[in-house]
Symmetry: C2
Subunit: 138 residues, 2 copies
Amino acid sequence: MTTETFILDPTLAKDTVEITKLDICLVLLIRDRTYPWLILVPAVHGLRDLDDLNPEQLQTVMAEVDHISKVMKAQFQPYKMNVAALGNVVEQLHIHVIARFQGDPAWPAPVWGAHPPQDYSDADRDHLVDQIRTALCR
Amino acid sequence: MTTETFILDPTLAKDTVEITKLDICLVLLIRDRTYPWLILVPAVHGLRDLDDLNPEQLQTVMAEVDHISKVMKAQFQPYKMNVAALGNVVEQLHIHVIARFQGDPAWPAPVWGAHPPQDYSDADRDHLVDQIRTALCR
């Protein structure tokens, strides 16, 4: 399974901008300025569920989720973090890491399907990607 | 923080039945026969987000999530597993592990808020709790 080349799902590619690549995960920003919303995609061919990762991969992926979550807390001062691997629509394993605020448009419901995504302006997106990339590598 | 006694959130207590306790997590069955839906609650006082766990706790919790997920796959043959730590309503850290089917009432949307929960009959719930408990300890 892992001998085949990893290719990012085309829907994820369309809906996101790449921030960086960690040891195992691509870190992507969702094109939706409604919430600070990142997605981690383990760059391993053929994964669907979190339990498809072997124990070593799972440990690395979760350490990366933990790192991203802490960076987002420091950057955005959210009220709560939401972490989820759902994948009912896009089946390639991807992990949502979302900073939530008591005043955000979906609060307290989950974000999926709550509001149509609103893309950032190019300048805002570039700025945010730089900001998160810098914070991740600090 | 960890010197205080862990007490299960009263809403989680009301909405679930305890299946077992693993090394760190309580394993609870949600009282909703719409989906096979378990919740893992790390029995440590004061946790809100997944990144509040220290690295050792995170590794143990995720190994338990992995175990539960594999057992649910074997028991229920779902199309997809959903794993999520949200906690916007109940803030005590808890991790949903849900077996999803292409024909289930919320598919492909997330389960939260999709349908009012429908409790099992006492007999069905007891049977299911026994079934999962046995499979977990095998």
